[in-house]
Amino acid sequence: MVVIAGSTHQPAGGAPPPGLDPERVPQVLRVVLVRHATAQAPGSGVPTDRPLTSDGLAQADRLRWLNLFDLATGFYAGPASRTIGTLAPGASSRGRDVMPMGALGESASGGWLPDDQFAEALARYFAHPGIVPAPGWESGSVAAQRFGSQVEALRAAHPPHVNRDRAVPGVVVVSTGGRVAIAWLASSLGWSGADAESAWRRLRNPDIAVIDLPRDEASRLIIPFGTLET
């Protein structure tokens, strides 16, 4: 365990300093994007709503100890039990519920496909987001659009935290599936199809990225997937 003490000049006690003008506060929403914990592998006979495995449940329990979740005022997930379950310990330990939302769900993939066919569909999903990559699949651009619209709709309920001496972004935690997560990041950050597919292939279960969404400015990737110990 490491303790870092940075220099502190900001007043931490006593009279509040004057002069924080709320009109000047940047309107930024921070999204802690969580790819769900380990779920039962897809396959023939496996239910569509794949539950977390015992390992996945343990992973979800570990996530609740992350300081990263402390500033969150909302926990949201796609409707699948694996995404809700990934955030459940972290939300409940902070006195909050996970709010399931259909628009935050994983991209439809038309049921189980053999590995080679799945890989081909996935490559098309990221390389050509404007087309439906396989029967029953959602296109990458449609997925990114509906996911992004829902995230944007969360902004009003999670304004920046403003106190007497500083403002920090409003923070929400969103758990979803890997494909839509990467499709949305690629759309928001201007990734190429190859970069997006590569990012998807490196994803872990669970995995975490942090992205800041300033209103009327370009999105900023703060912590990429694969960085934090999960």
Partner: protein, 307 residues
Amino acid sequence: MAENSSPLQSQPDAKGEFFRLVAEQGHYGGRTFPTPTRQGLYVCTPGGTTLGALNTRDAGPLLEMLRTALERWDHLAVHATTGAPGEYDRFRPDHYPHGGLVLRAIARDLPREVDTRTDDWRKIAWNLDYAWFTREEASSLVPDPSHPGATSEASPELARRLGRFHLRDFVRGEPAPWPADAVREASLSSMVTGVSGDRITVSLHGRIRLEAEFRWVRQGDGESHASPCSFDATLSGEAEWDRVAGRFVRFDLAASGPRAGTQQYNNRPDDLGPAPMAVVFELAGDTLRDRTPPHTVLHAQYFGEPA
């Protein structure tokens, strides 16, 4: 470990990246307003998972945070990185003055006849910094030949750095260095008071007088502010030089006198003075903690003004 967070917020090397990873999971994650500071206290795993963070001077909340972090560590340690860190290609050079004079500087207010300070942390505030001088600069304080009564004048560079960068009012916070033209007077002289074997004892005397108006725009509301600041410091102390080692083995120097004014980040707007303040200097050790760089070491003129 103690770090100056300001440079780390943008420093393009592994150390900066690690700090930013930890800080972005903490209390100021995403902060851009009124400043992008990430100052504070952080507890993290060696792999960069933040376990606790806050910015406070109060022991109670800090203790609570440390306890929370320890509980989190108990749950996450087994999954934390255990590998050795990789090579560190440092972005900034190491200016530690090996063989030179490394001083610990402590600043605090002195008792006042009429005390109008608010009865909270501001009344008992003190702060710590370090001051670095090269061996050559330090030796300028040793008269040659060294017989009792012999005197010497500190090098202009030593006096300049002492004044501009170390006689700041950092009791409550983080003032900027004095500008070059703020130094109205700067003298520090020594006199041999005793010689015993290889040890030379010198008394230290001097005066450094600083005056400047500091101006800033408060980012929170865009308002301009200005404050005339000053510190009229009388220097007094004693030091012992080891002729064989070629270094000071004891160094005690006090700079005391009236200070006035405030700056943007030194938390003095309610205490403009004049009021008495002291900065005392003593020899630092050579532990890692005592190698903490001076707060202003990254200033372009810390080690000298351009010719």
